[in-house]
Protein backbone atom coordinates (compact mmCIF):
# COMPACT_ATOMS: atom_id res chain seq x y z
CA UNK A 1 0.00 0.00 0.00
CA UNK A 2 1.54 3.36 -0.90
CA UNK A 3 3.28 4.79 2.12
CA UNK A 4 0.84 7.62 2.42
CA UNK A 5 -2.28 8.67 0.60
CA UNK A 6 -0.28 11.63 -0.60
CA UNK A 7 1.58 9.90 -3.39
CA UNK A 8 -0.20 10.38 -6.68
CA UNK A 9 -1.52 6.93 -7.48
CA UNK A 10 -1.37 6.20 -11.15
CA UNK A 11 -5.08 6.32 -11.99
CA UNK A 12 -6.17 3.84 -14.62
CA UNK A 13 -5.96 6.33 -17.42
CA UNK A 14 -5.38 3.56 -19.92
CA UNK A 15 -7.43 4.05 -23.10
CA UNK A 16 -7.85 0.84 -25.11
CA UNK A 17 -8.20 0.91 -28.87
CA UNK A 18 -11.60 0.38 -30.51
CA UNK A 19 -10.22 -2.76 -32.14
CA UNK A 20 -9.35 -4.37 -28.81
CA UNK A 21 -12.94 -3.86 -27.54
CA UNK A 22 -14.34 -5.43 -30.72
CA UNK A 23 -11.93 -8.37 -30.41
CA UNK A 24 -13.05 -8.96 -26.83
CA UNK A 25 -16.70 -8.75 -27.91
CA UNK A 26 -15.97 -11.31 -30.62
CA UNK A 27 -14.35 -13.66 -28.12
CA UNK A 28 -17.39 -13.36 -25.84
CA UNK A 29 -19.78 -14.21 -28.69
CA UNK A 30 -17.70 -17.24 -29.62
CA UNK A 31 -17.67 -18.40 -26.01
CA UNK A 32 -21.45 -18.01 -25.83
CA UNK A 33 -21.83 -20.24 -28.88
CA UNK A 34 -19.38 -22.70 -27.30
CA UNK A 35 -21.33 -22.89 -24.06
CA UNK A 36 -24.61 -23.46 -25.92
CA UNK A 37 -22.96 -26.08 -28.12
CA UNK A 38 -21.43 -27.95 -25.21
CA UNK A 39 -24.78 -28.11 -23.46
CA UNK A 40 -26.17 -29.81 -26.58
CA UNK A 41 -23.63 -32.64 -26.34
CA UNK A 42 -25.61 -34.33 -23.59
CA UNK A 43 -22.73 -34.77 -21.17
CA UNK A 44 -23.59 -36.27 -17.76
CA UNK A 45 -25.13 -33.54 -15.64
CA UNK A 46 -22.34 -32.98 -13.10
CA UNK A 47 -19.72 -32.69 -15.83
CA UNK A 48 -21.88 -30.40 -17.92
CA UNK A 49 -22.36 -28.05 -14.97
CA UNK A 50 -18.58 -27.90 -14.47
CA UNK A 51 -18.06 -27.06 -18.13
CA UNK A 52 -20.82 -24.45 -18.08
CA UNK A 53 -19.29 -22.74 -15.03
CA UNK A 54 -15.82 -23.00 -16.58
CA UNK A 55 -16.85 -21.30 -19.83
CA UNK A 56 -18.77 -18.66 -17.86
CA UNK A 57 -15.61 -17.99 -15.80
CA UNK A 58 -13.57 -17.48 -18.97
CA UNK A 59 -16.18 -15.04 -20.27
CA UNK A 60 -16.17 -13.31 -16.88
CA UNK A 61 -12.38 -13.04 -17.09
CA UNK A 62 -12.62 -11.19 -20.39
CA UNK A 63 -15.44 -8.89 -19.29
CA UNK A 64 -13.71 -8.04 -15.99
CA UNK A 65 -10.23 -7.77 -17.51
CA UNK A 66 -10.91 -5.54 -20.49
CA UNK A 67 -14.36 -4.04 -20.21
CA UNK A 68 -13.94 -3.30 -16.48
CA UNK A 69 -10.29 -2.21 -16.95
CA UNK A 70 -9.08 -4.55 -14.22
CA UNK A 71 -6.02 -5.29 -16.32
CA UNK A 72 -4.80 -1.71 -15.87
CA UNK A 73 -6.31 -1.05 -12.45
CA UNK A 74 -4.40 -1.15 -9.15
CA UNK A 75 -3.64 -4.62 -7.82
CA UNK A 76 -5.71 -3.81 -4.72
CA UNK A 77 -8.96 -3.31 -6.62
CA UNK A 78 -8.42 -6.68 -8.31
CA UNK A 79 -7.84 -8.22 -4.86
CA UNK A 80 -11.04 -6.61 -3.55
CA UNK A 81 -13.08 -7.99 -6.47
CA UNK A 82 -11.67 -11.51 -6.26
CA UNK A 83 -11.95 -11.39 -2.45
CA UNK A 84 -15.71 -11.15 -2.79
CA UNK A 85 -15.80 -14.46 -4.65
CA UNK A 86 -13.79 -16.15 -1.88
CA UNK A 87 -16.61 -15.46 0.61
CA UNK A 88 -19.19 -16.63 -1.96
CA UNK A 89 -17.29 -19.92 -2.34
CA UNK A 90 -17.09 -20.29 1.47
CA UNK A 91 -20.88 -19.87 1.62
CA UNK A 92 -21.40 -22.45 -1.13
CA UNK A 93 -18.83 -24.87 0.19
CA UNK A 94 -20.00 -25.21 3.78
CA UNK A 95 -23.72 -25.23 2.93
CA UNK A 96 -23.35 -27.87 0.21
CA UNK A 97 -21.14 -29.92 2.54
CA UNK A 98 -24.04 -29.96 4.97
CA UNK A 99 -26.66 -30.75 2.33
CA UNK A 100 -24.48 -33.51 0.91
CA UNK A 101 -23.64 -35.30 4.11
CA UNK A 102 -26.98 -35.39 5.93
CA UNK A 103 -27.89 -38.85 7.09
CA UNK A 104 -24.48 -40.22 6.03
CA UNK A 105 -23.64 -41.39 9.50
CA UNK A 106 -26.79 -43.41 9.83
CA UNK A 107 -26.43 -44.99 6.40
CA UNK A 108 -22.73 -45.58 6.87
CA UNK A 109 -23.70 -47.80 9.78
CA UNK A 110 -26.28 -49.58 7.60
CA UNK A 111 -28.73 -49.35 10.46
CA UNK A 112 -31.52 -51.43 8.96
CA UNK A 113 -34.31 -50.27 11.27
CA UNK A 114 -33.34 -46.74 10.49
CA UNK A 115 -33.14 -47.18 6.73
CA UNK A 116 -36.58 -48.79 6.45
CA UNK A 117 -38.21 -45.78 8.07
CA UNK A 118 -36.13 -43.08 6.51
CA UNK A 119 -37.01 -44.04 2.94
CA UNK A 120 -35.24 -41.58 0.68
CA UNK A 121 -32.28 -39.88 2.39
CA UNK A 122 -34.38 -36.77 2.21
CA UNK A 123 -38.05 -37.60 2.61
CA UNK A 124 -39.62 -36.45 -0.67
CA UNK A 125 -41.86 -33.56 0.36
CA UNK A 126 -45.50 -34.55 -0.10
CA UNK A 127 -46.60 -31.26 -1.65
CA UNK A 128 -50.05 -32.38 -2.80
CA UNK A 129 -52.66 -33.41 -0.29
CA UNK A 130 -52.66 -37.13 -1.14
CA UNK A 131 -49.31 -37.49 0.72
CA UNK A 132 -46.69 -39.93 -0.55
CA UNK A 133 -46.99 -42.12 2.49
CA UNK A 134 -44.67 -40.04 4.62
CA UNK A 135 -45.84 -37.48 7.13
CA UNK A 136 -47.64 -34.49 5.84
Amino acid sequence: MSASAHAHEEHGEHISSLKSYLVIFGILLVLTVVTVGVSRLGLPSDISIMVAIGVACVKAFFVAGWFMHLKWDTRFNLLVFLGGFWFMLVFFGFTLTDLGSRGNLIEANDNFSQRADMGAKYAEPAHHVEGSGGHH
Binding site: A5, H11, G12, F25, S45, K59, A60, V63, G84
Partner: protein, 226 residues
Protein backbone atom coordinates in the same frame (compact mmCIF):
# COMPACT_ATOMS: atom_id res chain seq x y z
CA UNK B 1 2.28 17.76 15.16
CA UNK B 2 -0.06 20.29 13.57
CA UNK B 3 1.52 22.60 10.99
CA UNK B 4 -0.32 25.84 11.53
CA UNK B 5 0.06 27.98 8.47
CA UNK B 6 -2.42 27.68 5.66
CA UNK B 7 -0.11 28.17 2.69
CA UNK B 8 2.18 25.39 3.75
CA UNK B 9 -0.88 23.18 3.52
CA UNK B 10 -1.35 24.55 0.01
CA UNK B 11 2.18 23.55 -0.97
CA UNK B 12 1.71 20.14 0.60
CA UNK B 13 -1.49 19.83 -1.47
CA UNK B 14 0.58 19.96 -4.67
CA UNK B 15 -0.70 21.71 -7.79
CA UNK B 16 -3.65 24.05 -7.64
CA UNK B 17 -6.95 22.18 -6.96
CA UNK B 18 -9.02 21.26 -10.06
CA UNK B 19 -12.63 22.48 -9.92
CA UNK B 20 -14.20 19.07 -9.30
CA UNK B 21 -11.98 18.16 -6.34
CA UNK B 22 -13.88 18.00 -3.05
CA UNK B 23 -12.45 20.05 -0.17
CA UNK B 24 -11.62 17.08 2.02
CA UNK B 25 -9.31 15.40 -0.49
CA UNK B 26 -5.62 16.30 -0.80
CA UNK B 27 -5.46 15.75 -4.58
CA UNK B 28 -7.54 14.86 -7.61
CA UNK B 29 -5.82 11.51 -7.97
CA UNK B 30 -6.68 10.64 -4.34
CA UNK B 31 -10.34 11.48 -5.02
CA UNK B 32 -10.44 9.38 -8.18
CA UNK B 33 -8.76 6.43 -6.44
CA UNK B 34 -11.21 6.71 -3.52
CA UNK B 35 -14.24 6.78 -5.81
CA UNK B 36 -12.94 3.76 -7.74
CA UNK B 37 -12.25 1.73 -4.55
CA UNK B 38 -15.69 2.67 -3.21
CA UNK B 39 -17.29 1.37 -6.41
CA UNK B 40 -15.36 -1.90 -6.29
CA UNK B 41 -16.49 -2.39 -2.65
CA UNK B 42 -20.07 -1.81 -3.84
CA UNK B 43 -19.62 -4.38 -6.64
CA UNK B 44 -18.35 -6.94 -4.09
CA UNK B 45 -21.51 -6.33 -2.11
CA UNK B 46 -23.60 -6.96 -5.26
CA UNK B 47 -21.70 -10.19 -5.94
CA UNK B 48 -22.55 -11.43 -2.44
CA UNK B 49 -26.17 -10.37 -2.82
CA UNK B 50 -26.50 -12.60 -5.89
CA UNK B 51 -24.45 -15.33 -4.21
CA UNK B 52 -27.53 -15.98 -2.02
CA UNK B 53 -29.61 -16.67 -5.12
CA UNK B 54 -26.95 -18.88 -6.70
CA UNK B 55 -26.73 -20.70 -3.35
CA UNK B 56 -30.46 -21.44 -3.53
CA UNK B 57 -29.92 -22.72 -7.10
CA UNK B 58 -27.09 -25.08 -6.17
CA UNK B 59 -28.84 -26.24 -2.97
CA UNK B 60 -32.07 -27.25 -4.67
CA UNK B 61 -30.28 -28.61 -7.69
CA UNK B 62 -28.55 -30.95 -5.24
CA UNK B 63 -31.75 -31.83 -3.36
CA UNK B 64 -33.93 -32.44 -6.43
CA UNK B 65 -31.55 -33.40 -9.25
CA UNK B 66 -34.04 -35.17 -11.51
CA UNK B 67 -36.95 -32.70 -11.33
CA UNK B 68 -34.38 -29.90 -11.75
CA UNK B 69 -33.33 -31.20 -15.15
CA UNK B 70 -36.90 -32.01 -16.14
CA UNK B 71 -38.18 -28.57 -15.13
CA UNK B 72 -35.43 -26.62 -16.88
CA UNK B 73 -36.41 -28.21 -20.18
CA UNK B 74 -39.40 -25.85 -20.11
CA UNK B 75 -37.11 -22.82 -20.44
CA UNK B 76 -36.59 -21.58 -23.97
CA UNK B 77 -32.80 -21.50 -24.34
CA UNK B 78 -33.07 -19.63 -27.63
CA UNK B 79 -34.64 -16.62 -25.89
CA UNK B 80 -31.99 -16.94 -23.17
CA UNK B 81 -29.26 -17.02 -25.81
CA UNK B 82 -30.68 -13.95 -27.55
CA UNK B 83 -30.73 -12.13 -24.24
CA UNK B 84 -27.11 -13.10 -23.62
CA UNK B 85 -26.01 -11.66 -26.94
CA UNK B 86 -28.07 -8.50 -26.38
CA UNK B 87 -26.54 -7.98 -22.96
CA UNK B 88 -23.00 -8.66 -24.22
CA UNK B 89 -23.49 -6.09 -26.96
CA UNK B 90 -24.82 -3.57 -24.43
CA UNK B 91 -21.70 -4.26 -22.37
CA UNK B 92 -19.58 -3.45 -25.44
CA UNK B 93 -21.41 -0.20 -26.12
CA UNK B 94 -21.11 0.79 -22.45
CA UNK B 95 -17.34 0.16 -22.59
CA UNK B 96 -17.18 2.28 -25.75
CA UNK B 97 -19.14 5.02 -23.96
CA UNK B 98 -16.48 5.06 -21.22
CA UNK B 99 -13.78 5.13 -23.92
CA UNK B 100 -15.52 8.04 -25.65
CA UNK B 101 -15.51 9.82 -22.31
CA UNK B 102 -11.76 9.34 -22.05
CA UNK B 103 -11.46 10.89 -25.51
CA UNK B 104 -13.66 13.80 -24.41
CA UNK B 105 -16.21 13.03 -27.18
CA UNK B 106 -19.43 13.75 -25.25
CA UNK B 107 -21.72 13.26 -28.26
CA UNK B 108 -20.36 9.73 -28.76
CA UNK B 109 -20.86 9.04 -25.05
CA UNK B 110 -24.56 9.93 -25.29
CA UNK B 111 -24.93 7.93 -28.51
CA UNK B 112 -23.41 4.78 -26.98
CA UNK B 113 -25.49 5.23 -23.83
CA UNK B 114 -28.68 5.35 -25.88
CA UNK B 115 -27.66 2.11 -27.65
CA UNK B 116 -26.98 0.50 -24.27
CA UNK B 117 -30.38 1.63 -22.97
CA UNK B 118 -31.95 0.26 -26.15
CA UNK B 119 -30.33 -3.14 -25.68
CA UNK B 120 -31.42 -3.19 -22.05
CA UNK B 121 -34.94 -2.44 -23.25
CA UNK B 122 -34.80 -5.36 -25.69
CA UNK B 123 -33.55 -7.57 -22.86
CA UNK B 124 -36.55 -6.66 -20.70
CA UNK B 125 -39.00 -7.16 -23.57
CA UNK B 126 -37.62 -10.65 -24.26
CA UNK B 127 -37.92 -11.35 -20.52
CA UNK B 128 -41.53 -10.16 -20.62
CA UNK B 129 -42.31 -12.76 -23.30
CA UNK B 130 -40.61 -15.49 -21.30
CA UNK B 131 -42.54 -14.60 -18.16
CA UNK B 132 -45.93 -14.28 -19.90
CA UNK B 133 -45.38 -17.67 -21.54
CA UNK B 134 -44.75 -19.17 -18.10
CA UNK B 135 -47.80 -17.50 -16.57
CA UNK B 136 -49.98 -19.11 -19.26
CA UNK B 137 -48.31 -22.51 -18.98
CA UNK B 138 -48.80 -22.46 -15.20
CA UNK B 139 -45.15 -23.17 -14.48
CA UNK B 140 -45.05 -20.80 -11.53
CA UNK B 141 -43.54 -20.98 -8.05
CA UNK B 142 -45.17 -22.29 -4.90
CA UNK B 143 -48.91 -22.91 -4.82
CA UNK B 144 -49.52 -21.36 -8.25
CA UNK B 145 -47.80 -24.27 -9.89
CA UNK B 146 -50.52 -25.88 -11.96
CA UNK B 147 -48.40 -27.49 -14.68
CA UNK B 148 -48.54 -31.28 -14.62
CA UNK B 149 -45.91 -32.22 -17.16
CA UNK B 150 -43.36 -33.18 -14.49
CA UNK B 151 -43.90 -35.95 -11.99
CA UNK B 152 -42.48 -36.22 -8.45
CA UNK B 153 -39.95 -33.93 -6.79
CA UNK B 154 -40.76 -30.24 -6.41
CA UNK B 155 -40.65 -28.51 -9.81
CA UNK B 156 -42.28 -25.42 -8.32
CA UNK B 157 -39.11 -24.84 -6.32
CA UNK B 158 -37.15 -24.70 -9.59
CA UNK B 159 -39.50 -22.03 -10.86
CA UNK B 160 -39.30 -20.21 -7.54
CA UNK B 161 -35.50 -20.06 -7.96
CA UNK B 162 -35.89 -19.18 -11.67
CA UNK B 163 -38.24 -16.26 -11.01
CA UNK B 164 -36.17 -15.03 -8.06
CA UNK B 165 -32.88 -15.06 -9.98
CA UNK B 166 -34.10 -13.61 -13.27
CA UNK B 167 -36.48 -11.26 -11.45
CA UNK B 168 -33.79 -9.70 -9.22
CA UNK B 169 -31.41 -9.57 -12.19
CA UNK B 170 -34.12 -7.90 -14.28
CA UNK B 171 -34.65 -5.40 -11.47
CA UNK B 172 -30.95 -4.53 -11.63
CA UNK B 173 -31.22 -4.06 -15.41
CA UNK B 174 -34.12 -1.64 -14.89
CA UNK B 175 -32.11 0.22 -12.21
CA UNK B 176 -29.25 0.42 -14.75
CA UNK B 177 -31.57 1.93 -17.36
CA UNK B 178 -32.76 4.49 -14.80
CA UNK B 179 -29.23 5.55 -13.85
CA UNK B 180 -28.15 5.85 -17.50
CA UNK B 181 -31.17 8.01 -18.33
CA UNK B 182 -30.46 10.20 -15.30
CA UNK B 183 -26.82 10.47 -16.38
CA UNK B 184 -27.73 11.58 -19.89
CA UNK B 185 -30.20 14.25 -18.80
CA UNK B 186 -28.34 15.22 -15.63
CA UNK B 187 -24.56 15.40 -15.35
CA UNK B 188 -23.69 14.98 -19.05
CA UNK B 189 -26.15 17.65 -20.19
CA UNK B 190 -24.83 19.99 -17.51
CA UNK B 191 -21.31 19.37 -18.76
CA UNK B 192 -20.10 17.96 -15.47
CA UNK B 193 -18.42 15.03 -17.26
CA UNK B 194 -15.11 15.67 -19.03
CA UNK B 195 -11.88 13.93 -19.96
CA UNK B 196 -10.36 14.88 -16.61
CA UNK B 197 -13.19 13.71 -14.36
CA UNK B 198 -15.55 10.94 -15.50
CA UNK B 199 -15.81 8.44 -12.56
CA UNK B 200 -19.61 8.69 -12.78
CA UNK B 201 -19.66 7.20 -16.30
CA UNK B 202 -16.94 4.75 -15.35
CA UNK B 203 -18.84 3.54 -12.26
CA UNK B 204 -22.09 3.12 -14.17
CA UNK B 205 -20.04 1.16 -16.68
CA UNK B 206 -18.64 -1.09 -13.94
CA UNK B 207 -22.16 -1.62 -12.55
CA UNK B 208 -23.47 -2.53 -16.00
CA UNK B 209 -20.62 -4.93 -16.68
CA UNK B 210 -21.37 -6.62 -13.34
CA UNK B 211 -25.04 -7.00 -14.29
CA UNK B 212 -23.82 -8.57 -17.55
CA UNK B 213 -21.37 -10.77 -15.63
CA UNK B 214 -24.16 -12.12 -13.43
CA UNK B 215 -26.26 -12.96 -16.51
CA UNK B 216 -23.22 -14.72 -18.03
CA UNK B 217 -23.35 -17.17 -15.08
CA UNK B 218 -27.13 -17.22 -14.82
CA UNK B 219 -27.80 -18.13 -18.47
CA UNK B 220 -25.96 -21.48 -18.67
CA UNK B 221 -26.96 -22.58 -15.14
CA UNK B 222 -30.67 -21.97 -15.66
CA UNK B 223 -31.20 -22.44 -19.36
CA UNK B 224 -28.57 -24.84 -20.63
CA UNK B 225 -27.24 -27.27 -18.09
CA UNK B 226 -28.47 -30.76 -18.89
Amino acid sequence: MLSHNENEAEAAGGHEHPAWQAHHFYSGAQQKASVKLGMWAFLVQEVLFFSGLFMAYFAFRYLYPDTWLAAHELLDWRLGGLNTVVLLFSSLTMALAVRACQLDDMKAVVRYLWITIGCAGIFMVVKYFEYSHKFHAGTLPGKWYTFDGIEGGAPEVFFAVYFMMTGVHGLHVVIGIGIMLWMIFGPIRKGKISKDYYPLVENVGLYWHLVDLIWIFLFPLLYLVR
